[in-house]
């Protein structure tokens, strides 16, 4: 097999990962890293380097479309980015300190959690319980379009949300993924933001979070240009196509298919990590 064929195979796999990642809302990163490691036998560090680059591309590419709908909240996003970028720096630093096997095990656990979360996020808005003084002081509020007008919201449990965002950032830096599932958990479940606001703001934040680890990845040599190229272009093309056909797709069935794939990959990552094969 020559380089052209090899790059083409990686590119096609990345297109599929990006496509399914966009349709299910999980992102392409969570599936491309285990596929590169397990199927293409690529070292974990190179795999997370290539994935991180594709995460920046898809997040930034999709953001423009989300902004126009008026759901995302730049203040909440920017405030929480303080936590995610600090976490991402720590995560990227830890990659060199933790063995590939352990990173694989953590990756597997995050995959299993993402699969579970994708099947349980019903898309219902959380019940709001109380006014949060800190959120009011930090102006963490807004309004979003609902049927027949606009509805106001204010964030709750700001310190807890901030803490979970730090962990989301750390996982992003450690695993080269967007960790959108954890970000939505913080905003949706903990800070009680409306579902649409959580998902769109989270997407906006993913690129900035990933950019925080990118500098560290680059200087440590995790980013191989010839591998990052087909992964980035493939995932980007796949996710753009995925978001176009999203309205026509049988999302519920797809979620189950993708969740099954992710559970299988997560199980295999954990197995390979435990048996010391990564």
């Amino acid at each position: 097999m020559n380089i052209l064929l090899f790059s083409l195979e990686i590119c096609l796999t990345s297109i599929l990962a990006g496509f399914l990642g966009a349709l299910t809302g999980l992102g392409g990163g969570v599936v491309i890293v285990p596929v590169l490691c397990l199927l293409f036998k690529i070292d974990l560090h190179y795999a997370i380097g290539a994935s991180l680059i594709s995460v920046i591309a898809t997040s930034s590419g999709a953001a423009a479309a989300y902004v126009r709908e008026g759901y995302s909240n730049i203040r909440i996003g920017m405030f929480l980015e303080v936590a995610t970028t600090l976490g991402a720096l720590l995560g990227a630093y830890l990659v060199a300190k933790i063995s590939a096997d352990w990173i694989g095990i953590v990756f597997g656990v995050v995959l299993l959690y993402s699969a579970w979360a994708s099947l349980h996020n019903a898309g219902v808005d959380p019940k709001r319980t109380r006014q949060d003084a800190l959120a009011t002081r930090l102006n963490l509020r807004g309004s979003y379009p609902v049927q027949g007008g606009k509805e106001d919201y204010t964030a709750e449990h700001v310190p807890a949300g901030f803490g979970i965002m730090f962990i989301a950032g750390m996982l992003s830096g450690l695993l080269g993924i967007g960790s959108g599932a954890v970000k939505v958990l913080a905003m949706d479940q903990v800070m009680k933001l409306p579902f649409k606001v959580s998902t769109t703001t989270s997407n906006f934040m993913i690129g900035v979070t990933a950019a925080a680890s990118a500098g560290v990845y680059l200087s440590r040599g995790y980013i191989l240009p010839e591998l990052a190229m087909p992964v980035m272009l493939g995932v980007l093309a796949g996710s753009l196509a995925g978001s176009r056909v999203l309205v026509y797709a049988p999302v519920k069935t797809l979620r189950w298919v993708f969740a099954t794939v992710i559970v299988a990959l997560g199980g295999e990552m954990i197995f390979n990590g435990v048996t010391g094969r990564l």
Partner: protein, 123 residues
């Protein structure tokens, strides 16, 4: 003022899209060049050796890209891609300052500093 917020967001979104498009085109150009030049067998990627120094540091990447070396060109496109969300945050610092929102101008500045820190940490 939600109207201004929305305008700032739309401008940020547009900037992101332009940045990604330009970066992807540069990566694609470098990729085509790389694939048209290489007929060697596939290097061993199963063990971590780290990328060559020419692809690790910004100045080295820029020098290689100027020589139209294919992999440096790809890496230069990747640098442009990384710069895209960073400029979005820079845009936030300016935007919030113009909107006289001191708190969020400061929050954006903190995020920007953390992002730049990433480029000044060494092994």
């Amino acid at each position: 003022m939600p109207g201004n917020d929305q305008r700032l967001e739309i401008a940020m979104g547009l900037m992101l899209r332009v940045g990604v498009t330009v970066a992807a085109l540069v990566v694609l150009a470098g990729g085509v060049l790389y694939l048209s030049q290489s007929s060697r067998p596939i290097p061993d990627y199963s063990h971590f050796h780290g990328a060559p120094a020419a692809y690790e540091h910004v100045t080295a990447i820029l020098a290689g890209a100027l020589r139209i070396e294919s992999k440096s060109l790809i890496q230069f496109g990747i640098l442009l891609l990384i710069a895209t969300p960073i400029s979005r945050v820079l845009f936030g610092v300016v935007g919030f300052t113009v909107m006289k929102d001191r708190l969020y101008a400061a929050v954006s500045a903190i995020v920007l500093i953390v992002l730049l820190l990433s480029f000044f940490t060494r092994r």
